[in-house]
C-alpha cells in the first residue's frame, strides 16, 4: 500500500506502508543507531515524533517481549529505507510489521532516508505528516503538506502528560520488571538497600532496571507529584527521568525540582537533566536537528575519559546560562554542547545523555554507581 511522508517545507517522500494504516502528524527526526529499533520505538521520549532510522535495513531481528523501554511503541510514525519482512533471531517473537500494526503505528518504507536525513540536518527538524492511502486509493500529497504546516509542533507543548504514569507504583511490582536482559555486568547487590523515588516524565524501563540492579527499590511517581508528597515518603534519593519534548512548559516539574534541591540526592537523565538545569536558573533551547543515536562522544571533564553514549534529545541546556553554583562535568565532543552538570553544594547531578543505554553502549553506567555513592554519603 502506498504511503507518503510530507514535510512542512513541502518535500514529499513516497513509499510503501507497513505496520498500521491511517494518518499521523509529528516532528520528523532521525536516529543514527544501527541497532535497537525496538528500544527506540518504545522510548517515551519519542512521543510526538516521527522517527526515521538512518540505517537502511530495519526489522531484521524482529521484535520481542523484553527489549522494550515502556509499555509499547511511543513514536508517532516510523520511517525506514527497507523493512525486512523476515525476522531472524533466537529471541524474535513478532515481525516489526505485526508489532507496529498491533500497536497502531504507521510505518513507511522504501524512501531515500539519507535524503530525508540530509534535509533535516541542513534545514533542521521539521513537522511532518505521514499517511497511507485510503480505501479508494486516495492520498493527496498537498493536503498532507498542509497538515504538516498546520501542526503546532513540539515547542511549548507539555508532552509529558501523554506518557507519565497515572498513579504511583513500585517498579518491582511492575510486570516488566522481571523481564529484560540486564545490560550491566554488575552482580546484583542487596535489592532495596536504597529507596528511590523516580519522577516519571516518560521513564525508560532500563533506567529502572539499572537502578534496581544497583540495589535500589524504586517507587515511580507521576510527573505532577509535588515535592512535599515525595519528601513525605522519605526516600534516599530522587531520580528525574527522561521524557519527550520541550522542558519549558513543565513549570510544575521545575518547581518540584527546585523544592527538592538540597533535600535529597538527585540524579537526572535527559529531560530530567534539562529540568534540573532550569530549576537551577539555566535556560534551554531547541537544537537544530538534535542528538539521536548511539555513537555520540562525551568527555567526562573530571577524568578526561571519553564515553560513547546513547542520546535522544532535541532540546539542550544552554551551557552559558548556568549559574556558578554548578559545575560542568560532561561535554559533547562533536558540537561542544552541555552533557552533564553537578551542583557544587547540593547532592545533585544530571546528564543529558543516556547512561542506561538501551539502545547503545554501556560506557556511562558508572553514573548509577555515582548516584548510589551520593545516597550513601548523604
Amino acid at each position: 500500500m502506498k504511503a507518503i511522508l510530507a514535510l512542512a517545507d513541502g518535500t514529499v517522500f513516497e513509499g510503501q506502508q507497513f505496520g498500521a494504516t491511517g494518518e499521523t502528524v509529528g516532528e520528523v527526526v532521525f536516529n543514527t543507531s544501527m541497532t535497537g529499533y525496538q528500544e527506540v520505538l518504545t522510548d517515551p521520549s519519542y512521543n510526538g515524533q516521527i522517527v526515521t532510522m538512518t540505517y537502511p535495513l530495519i526489522g531484521n531481528y524482529g521484535c520481542n517481549e523484553v527489549d522494550i523501554e515502556s509499555i509499547g511503541p511511543q513514536v508517532e510514525g516510523f520511517v525506514v529505507r527497507e523493512y525486512s519482512a523476515y525476522h531472524s533471531n533466537w529471541r524474535s517473537k513478532w515481525s516489526l510489521d505485526t508489532y507496529l500494526a498491533e500497536n497502531g503505528i504507521i510505518g513507511i518504507q522504501n524512501i531515500d532516508t539519507r535524503a530525508l536525513t540530509r534535509r533535516l540536518r541542513v534545514h533542521g527538524v521539521m513537522n511532518g505528516c505521514l499517511a497511507t492511502e485510503d480505501a479508494d486509493g486516495n492520498l493527496d500529497a498537498a493536503n498532507l503538506v498542509a497538515k504538516a504546516q498546520a501542526w503546532h509542533g513540539l515547542v511549548g507543548w507539555d508532552l509529558v502528560q501523554r506518557v507519565t504514569c497515572p498513579n504511583p507504583y513500585a517498579w518491582n511490582q511492575h510486570p516488566s520488571s522481571s523481564v529484560g536482559l540486564q545490560s550491566s555486568t554488575l552482580t546484583p547487590s542487596e535489592n532495596g538497600k536504597y529507596r528511590v523515588v523516580a519522577m516519571d516524565f516518560g521513564i525508560k524501563y532500563n533506567i529502572l532496571r539499572q537502578l534496581t540492579e544497583h540495589g535500589c527499590e524504586v517507587q515511580v511517581v507521576p510527573a505532577k507529584t509535588t515535592a512535599a508528597e515525595i519528601l513525605a515518603a522519605n526516600p534516599d534519593g530522587i531520580f528525574l527521568s527522561n521524557g519527550p519534548g520541550d522542558p519549558m512548559p513543565l513549570d510544575y516539574a521545575i518547581k518540584t525540582v527546585q523544592e527538592l534541591l538540597g533535600e535529597k540526592p538527585i540524579f537526572g537523565i535527559c529531560l530530567g537533566h534539562q529540568l534540573l538545569g532550569l530549576a537551577l536558573g539555566g535556560k534551554t533551547y531547541k537544537l537544530k536537528f538534535g542528538h539521536r543515536g548511539a555513537n555520540q562522544p562525551v568527555k567526562h571533564l573530571e577524568t578526561d575519559q571519553i564515553e560513547i553514549t546513547s542520546q535522544n534529545h532535541g532540546f539542550c541546556v544552554d551551557i552559558d546560562s548556568l549559574p556558578n553554583t554548578v559545575d560542568i562535568t560532561h561535554i559533547n565532543l562533536n558540537d561542544n554542547t552541555l552533557e552533564g552538570i553537578q551542583h557544587r553544594e547540593y547532592p545533585a547531578f544530571s546528564v543529558q545523555y543516556h547512561p542506561e543505554a538501551s539502545p547503545g553502549p554501556h560506557d556511562a553506567s558508572y553514573l548509577f554507581s555515582k548516584f548510589i555513592q551520593m545516597m550513601e554519603k548523604n
Binding site: T35, L57, E82, Y86, N89, A115, T117, A294, P297
Partner: protein, 1077 residues
C-alpha cells in the same frame, strides 16, 4: 596527550610479498602509517622486501630498506639506523612475528628500541593460545572448549575430551595455515602432524567445533588514555567453519539485537584492555550460537588486519592512520575526523548503507587440490561493494568479482540431482551462493537451505527476494520495459525496483533478451539513473568534506561535480593471480602525478585492500564495480576529459573498447592499437612491417586443426586459448598425445575462441623490457633478464636488472626493437615487451602496450617513477619536458623473485610453466648479482644454506650442465645426495655421492632424507610427465619443509653462486635512497 617528543626515529616493518592471507591491505596500512608519522615530523625507517608497494616508494620514508624481513636482516637495519621505536602492528603477521623475535632475542633491548603500539607481553597474550584462553577466562568470557598440544600424543589425549569434529589451529601461522577440521581420528592424526610441523613453536590449539554458529568480528581501537571505540562490526554470511577471509561478509552486523550487540561490544572492550594492547587497532572474532545466543570469543589480532582495511573502507574511518598517531602519544579526541573535519576521531562510525565483501579464489590454477573452503584461507583477493540494501550490495559485489557473473546469476549446473545439490550446499565451496540460487529456484524452503548451509535465514530470505523478483520480471504476465524497441513508461516502478535490488543492465538484458546497450538507453530514457551518495562515517549527521562515493538506486544524488579538468583512473578490481598490487601501485602513481599537474583525479575501484581506494589518494573516490555500466554511470556524472585504462591491468583494458564506443575519451595508447597487439593476425602484420621475428606459430579454430599445426611447427609447442590473463590454461605440450589431452580437457576451440599454438623455444633466454613513449621519444625503463629459461611465465620467473649474461650488442638490439615496436603501435604511455633469445636470434613473444607487473620493480631499481611519468605523458606532456630522455643503467643489481601459494593447495601441480601461479614477489638489491639473488631468495622465505646436504636429480639433458654445479657445491663443503642416474654421472666425474632410490624403487628414498631433516637444498629439473608423481612429491615435501628447491639449471647455478657469495661474508643492508643517489 600530545605527541611524544622523546622519540624521533621510528622503524616500520612491512609485510613482504603478497601471499594468501597477507595482501595489499598491509601496503594500505603501512602507507597510511608512514604518511601520518612523517606528517608529525618523525623520521621513518622502513623495511619491506616487496617492491610493488607504495610504502617502499622512496618518498614515503626517510630510509627505505628493500631487504628481507627476517630478524637477522632487520637487526642489521636497527644497528645501522638506531631507531628509537619500532611500530610492529602495521605489517601483518610477518612484521609482528619478526618484532616478537627481535624483542625475545634481546635485540631491541640491546639497541634500546621501544616497541610502540603493542608491547611484547600483549602480543604474546593475544597470539599464544594458552595465554589467550587464560586471559579470557580471567575476565569471565567464554571460549570454545579447547586445549593446547605440543605433540601428537597430547593432541590425541585432548580430542578424547573435546570430541569430533575438532578444529586444529597451529599457533603463529599465517591465515590459519595448516589448520583444519577433523571429523575422525585418522584425519585428525594427519592434520595434527602437519600442523605441528608448520607452527614455528610446534604448538596447536585443538578446539571444540562450533561449526555452523554465527560468526562476527569487531574492529576495536584503544588510545593511551584507555579510551576504547568500536570502528566497525562485521557479520559473516558463511558461518563458523569457513575462514573469515573466505567468507562473504557484511558490515554492519545485521542479525543481532542491540542487547546482543552491546554484550559483544562490552566483551571486545574488556578483551583489548585485558590483553593490554596499548594503542591502536585490534580485530576480535566472536561466534554466537544461533539457538541460544551464547557468545564465545574466537580470537584476537593485536594489530591492523585485512578486516581493519575492510572496516576502514566500509566506514571511511582510517584505522591504520589513526593507529599510527595513537602509537606516538595522541589520544583519540585529539585527532580530527578527516571526513567531517569538524568532529573528533573519538567516536564510533555509523553507516547508512550496507557493505558486502566477497572473496575471489584461484582454484582453476591449482587443479588437483581439494576445493572445500575450510578454516584455512585460500582466496587470493576480494571485492567490496556498497549498496543501499543487502540485495543491491550483494549483486554489485558479485559483478565486482570480474569472474563472469553479472550479479546473483543462475549457476550453470542448475539441474544437479538433489543429492548433489544438497552436498554443494552443505560443503562450503566457491560457488555455494549460486547453488543457493539453484535451490531457491527449485522452491527449496529457507528452513531446508538453512539446515544445509547454516547461513542465517535473514540472508537467505534476501536471496529469495531476489529470486522471486527475477521470476516476476521474467514472467510473461509482467510488462517488459522495452516493447517493440520502445521504452514503456508504465514499467518505471518495476525497473526502479530491479535497480534497487541491484540488478545490473547485463542481467536485465539477459532477462529481456536484448543488448546491454539497449537496456542502458531505455533506462536512461525512462529517467532511471544511478544516484551517488557519500561515505561519511556519520550517516549524514554532519557534512562530509571527503569525496568518497558509492552508487545506489534512490531519489537523491548528492554528488556535485566540479568544473575542473578531470582525469579518471580505472583500477584493477579484486586481486587475482596475475593482477594485483603492481597495478594498484600504477593507479596510485597516476593519481599522484596528475594531481601535481593540476588535474582533478577520479579513482574507480572495487578492491578494499588497496591504497588506490584510500580517500586520500585521489580527489574523488568511487567505490564501484569495474563494469561498463558502473563506469559509464560515473563518466556521465563527472565528464572527465580523459580516462586512463592502461594502469589497472586487464580489467580496464577489457572495458576500453566498449567505453570508447560509448564516447568516453580514452587517453594514452588507443584501444585500437592495444587490440593490434593482442590480435594475432594484426600483430603479425606489425612485426612484418618492422621486420621482427616471432616464434613460428599457428591458430587452430577446432581440435582437429590443432594436431597438424603442431606437427608442422614441431614439438614442443606452447598452446593457449586466445585472450587470456596470466597465462591461464597455457601449457607446454611435448607430443601429440598430450596435445589431444589438452584439447579435450582444458579448452574448447571454436572460430570465436581459437587456440593459439606457438613453437616452444627450448632453452631460450627470456627478457622483459619496460619502456615509456610519448609518441616521439621512447625511453627504456629497464631490461630484465630472466634466470629461468623461456617457458616459465614471466610472473613466475626470477629476473635480474640490468641483464647479467647478455652482451652489449644484444642489449642494443633489444632497445632498437623496443623503439620500433613503440612507434609501430603508437604507444603513448607504458609498454612491456617479452623477448626470447635463442642461438643469438631475438624473437618477440608478446607486447603489452600498458603498465606491466614489473613497473614498480623497475621504478625502484632505476630510481625513476615510470608510472607517474607515463600518466603525465598520457595527459599530454612530452618526455623531454619531464626530464626523462635517456636510459638509466644502475651500477648495482636488482633481482625480482616470485612467491608461490603451493603450501595452501596440497595436491596441486606445483611445477612451473607458462601459466602463472605466484601471488607476489620480492626484490633483492646488491652491488653483487649473486648477493642480490641470495637476498631475494631469503625474502621469499628460503634462506640459502651455507652447508649441509644437497639433493640433485636432473633430467638427462641437464646432466652435463649439473656437473659444474655439483662440483661447486662439493668445493663449498656440501655433501651430495642423488638418484641413480644423476649419481652415476657425478661419481664418474669424481664426486662423492650418497645414492637414494626413486620413490617406489627401494629405500631410503629422498622422502626419508627430508623426513630426517637431512636435506638442505634440492636441485630437481622436471623430466616430462613420466616421473611426474615422483617430482611432484619432492616439490610438495620441499614446500612443506621450507627447503630451497631449484627446478631449472640456470636457477640452480644462480643459487650456487649466491651460496658462494654468502660464504665469503654476510649480507649487508642499504636503503633505496642511497642506491638512487
Amino acid at each position: 596527550m600530545p605527541k611524544r617528543t622523546d622519540i624521533e626515529k621510528i622503524l616500520i616493518i612491512g609485510s613482504g610479498a603478497i601471499i594468501i592471507g597477507q595482501a595489499c591491505e598491509f601496503d594500505y596500512s603501512g602507507t597510511q602509517a608512514c604518511k601520518a608519522l612523517k606528517e608529525e615530523g618523525y623520521q621513518i625507517v622502513l623495511v619491506n622486501s616487496n617492491p610493488a608497494t607504495i610504502m617502499t616508494d622512496p618518498d614515503f620514508a626517510d630510509r627505505t630498506y628493500v631487504e628481507p624481513i627476517t630478524a637477522d636482516t632487520v637487526e642489521l637495519v636497527i644497528e645501522k639506523e638506531r631507531p628509537h621505536a619500532l611500530l610492529p602492528t602495521l605489517g601483518g603477521q610477518t612484521a609482528l612475528n619478526v618484532s616478537v623475535a627481535l624483542a625475545e632475542s634481546g635485540v631491541l633491548d640491546k639497541y634500546d628500541v621501544e616497541l610502540i603500539g603493542a608491547k611484547l607481553p600483549a602480543i604474546q597474550k593475544a597470539e599464544d593460545r594458552a595465554l589467550f584462553k587464560q586471559a579470557m577466562e580471567k575476565i569471565g568470557l567464554a571460549v570454545p572448549n579447547s586445549g593446547i598440544a605440543h605433540s601428537v600424543q597430547e593432541a590425541i589425549a585432548l580430542v578424547d575430551e573435546i570430541g569430533f569434529p575438532a578444529i586444529i589451529r597451529p599457533a603463529f601461522t599465517l591465515g590459519g595455515t595448516g589448520g583444519g577440521i577433523a571429523y575422525n581420528i585418522e584425519e585428525y592424526q594427519k592434520m595434527v602432524a602437519a600442523g605441528l610441523a608448520l607452527s614455528p613453536i610446534n604448538e596447536l590449539l585443538i578446539e571444540e567445533s562450533i561449526i555452523g554458529w554465527k560468526e562476527f568480528e569487531l574492529e576495536v581501537m584503544r588510545d593511551g588514555a584507555d579510551n576504547v571505540v568500536i570502528i566497525c562490526s562485521i557479520e559473516n554470511v558463511d558461518p563458523m567453519g569457513v575462514h573469515t577471509g573466505d567468507s562473504i561478509t557484511v558490515a554492519p552486523i545485521q542479525t543481532l539485537t542491540d542487547k546482543e550487540y552491546q554484550e559483544m561490544r562490552d566483551s571486545a572492550i574488556k578483551i583489548i584492555r585485558e590483553i593490554g594492547v596499548d594503542t591502536g587497532g585490534s580485530n576480535i572474532q566472536f561466534a554466537v550460537d544461533p539457538k541460544t545466543g551464547k557468545q564465545v570469543v574466537i580470537e584476537m589480532n593485536p594489530r591492523v588486519s585485512r578486516s581493519s582495511a575492510l572496516a576502514s573502507k566500509a566506514t571511511g574511518f582510517p584505522i591504520a592512520k589513526i593507529a599510527a598517531k595513537l602509537a606516538v602519544g595522541y589520544n583519540l579526541d585529539e585527532i580530527p575526523n578527516d571526513i567531517t573535519a569538524e568532529t573528533p576521531a573519538c567516536f564510533e562510525p555509523t553507516i547508512d548503507y550496507v557493505v558486502v565483501k566477497i572473496p575471489r579464489w584461484a582454484f582453476e590454477k591449482f587443479r588437483g587440490t581439494d576445493e572445500t573452503l575450510t578454516t584455512q584461507m585460500k582466496s587470493v583477493g576480494e571485492a567490496m561493494s556498497i549498496g543501499g540494501t543487502f540485495k543491491e550490495a550483494l549483486q554489485k559485489g558479485l559483478r565486482s568479482l570480474e569472474t563472469g557473473w553479472s550479479g546473483f546469476d543462475n549457476h550453470p549446473l542448475e539441474e544437479l540431482p538433489l543429492s548433489e545439490l544438497s552436498s554443494k550446499l552443505t560443503i562450503p565451496n566457491v560457488e555455494r551462493i549460486f547453488y543457493i540460487k539453484s535451490a531457491l529456484k527449485r522452491g527449496m524452503s529457507i528452513d531446508d537451505i538453512y539446515s544445509y548451509t547454516h547461513i542465517d535465514p535473514f540472508f537467505l530470505y534476501n536471496l529469495q527476494e531476489i529470486v522471486h523478483f527475477e521470476r516476476h520480471l521474467s514472467s510473461p504476465q509482467t510488462r517488459p520495459f522495452i516493447e517493440n524497441g520502445k521504452p514503456d513508461a508504465e514499467a518505471v516502478p518495476l525497473l526502479r525496483q530491479a535497480k534497487q535490488f541491484g540488478f545490473s543492465d547485463r542481467q536485465l538484458a539477459e532477462i529481456y533478451d536484448v543488448s546491454e546497450v539497449e537496456v542502458r538507453e531505455t533506462r536512461k530514457t525512462l529517467g532511471i539513473e544511478a544516484t551517488f551518495k557519500t561515505v561519511d562515517t556519520c550517516a549524514a549527521e554532519f557534512e562530509a568534506e571527503t569525496p568518497y562515493y558509492y552508487s545506489t538506486c534512490s531519489s537523491e544524488d548528492e554528488v556535485r561535480p566540479t568544473d575542473k579538468e578531470k582525469i579518471m583512473i580505472l583500477g584493477g578490481g579484486p586481486n587475482r593471480i596475475g593482477q594485483g598490487i603492481e597495478f594498484d601501485y600504477c593507479c596510485v602513481h597516476a593519481a599522484m602525478a596528475l594531481k601535481t599537474d593540476g588535474y582533478e583525479t577520479i579513482m574507480v575501484n572495487s578492491n578494499p585492500e588497496t591504497v588506490s581506494t584510500d580517500y586520500d589518494t585521489s580527489d574523488r573516490l568511487y567505490f564501484e564495480p569495474l563494469t561498463r555500466e558502473d563506469v559509464l554511470n560515473i563518466y556521465d556524472k563527472e565528464k572527465p576529459i580523459g580516462v586512463i585504462v592502461q594502469f589497472g591491468g586487464q580489467t580496464p583494458l577489457n572495458l576500453a573498447m566498449a567505453l570508447k564506443e560509448a564516447g568516453v575519451p580514452i587517453i594514452g595508447t588507443s584501444p585500437e592499437d592495444i587490440a593490434r597487439s593482442e590480435n594475432r593476425q594484426l600483430f603479425k602484420e606489425v612485426l612484418d612491417e618492422i621486420g621482427l621475428m616471432q616464434p613460428p606459430n599457428g591458430t587452430a579454430t577446432s581440435s582437429e586443426e590443432a594436431a597438424p599445426i603442431a606437427a608442422s611447427l614441431g614439438y614442443p609447442v606452447i598452446v593457449r586459448p586466445s585472450f587470456v590473463l596470466g597465462g591461464r590454461a597455457m601449457q607446454i605440450v611435448y607430443d601429440e598425445k598430450l596435445l589431444e589431452e589438452y584439447m579435450d580437457s582444458a579448452v574448447q576451440a571454436s572460430p570465436e575462441h581459437p587456440i593459439l599454438i606457438d613453437k616452444y623455444l627450448e632453452e631460450a633466454i627470456e627478457v622483459d623490457v619496460d619502456a615509456i613513449s610519448d609518441g616521439h621519444l621512447t625511453v627504456i625503463g629497464g631490461i630484465m633478464e630472466h634466470i629461468e629459461e623461456a617457458g616459465v611465465h614471466s610472473g613466475d620467473s626470477d629476473c635480474v636488472l640490468p641483464p647479467y649474461t647478455l652482451v652489449d650488442e644484444q642489449i642494443d638490439q633489444l632497445k632498437e626493437y623496443t623503439y620500433a615496436l613503440a612507434k609501430a603501435l603508437n604507444v603513448r604511455g607504458l609498454m612491456n615487451v617479452q623477448y626470447a633469445i635463442k642461438n643469438d636470434e631475438i624473437f618477440v613473444l608478446e607486447v603489452n602496450p600498458r603498465a606491466s607487473r614489473t613497473i614498480p620493480f623497475v621504478s625502484k631499481a632505476i630510481g625513476v617513477p615510470l608510472a607517474k611519468l607515463a600518466a603525465r605523458v598520457m595527459a599530454g606532456k612530452p618526455l623531454h619536458e619531464l626530464g626523462f630522455t635517456s636510459e638509466i643503467e644502475p651500477p648495482y643489481f636488482s633481482v625480482k623473485a616470485p612467491v608461490f601459494p603451493f603450501n595452501r593447495f596440497p595436491g596441486a601441480n606445483s611445477r612451473l610453466g607458462p601459466e602463472m601461479k605466484s601471488t607476489g614477489e620480492v626484490m633483492g638489491i646488491d652491488d653483487d648479482v649473486s648477493r642480490a639473488f641470495a637476498k631475494a631468495q631469503k625474502a621469499c622465505g628460503y634462506t640459502l644454506p651455507l652447508k649441509g646436504n644437497a639433493f640433485i636429480s636432473v633430467r638427462n639433458k641437464d646432466k652435463r650442465a649439473v656437473i659444474f654445479i655439483a662440483k661447486k657445491l662439493t668445493d663449498m663443503g656440501f655433501e651430495l645426495i642423488a638418484t641413480h642416474g644423476t649419481a652415476k654421472v657425478l661419481l664418474r666425474n669424481g664426486m662423492d655421492v650418497q645414492l637414494v632410490y626413486s620413490i617406489g624403487k627401494g629405500r631410503p628414498t629422498i622422502h626419508d632424507y627430508i623426513k630426517n631433516h637431512a636435506v638442505d637444498l634440492i636441485i630437481n629439473t622436471p623430466t616430462g610427465d613420466l616421473h611426474r608423481t615422483n617430482e611432484l612429491l619432492i616439490r610438495q615435501m620441499a614446500i612443506e619443509n621450507d627447503i630451497p628447491i631449484f627446478s631449472t639449471i640456470p636457477g640452480a647455478a644462480a643459487a650456487v653462486n649466491a651460496i658462494d657469495a654468502l660464504q665469503s661474508g654476510e649480507i649487508s643492508v642499504k636503503p633505496l635512497q642511497d642506491y638512487h643517489k
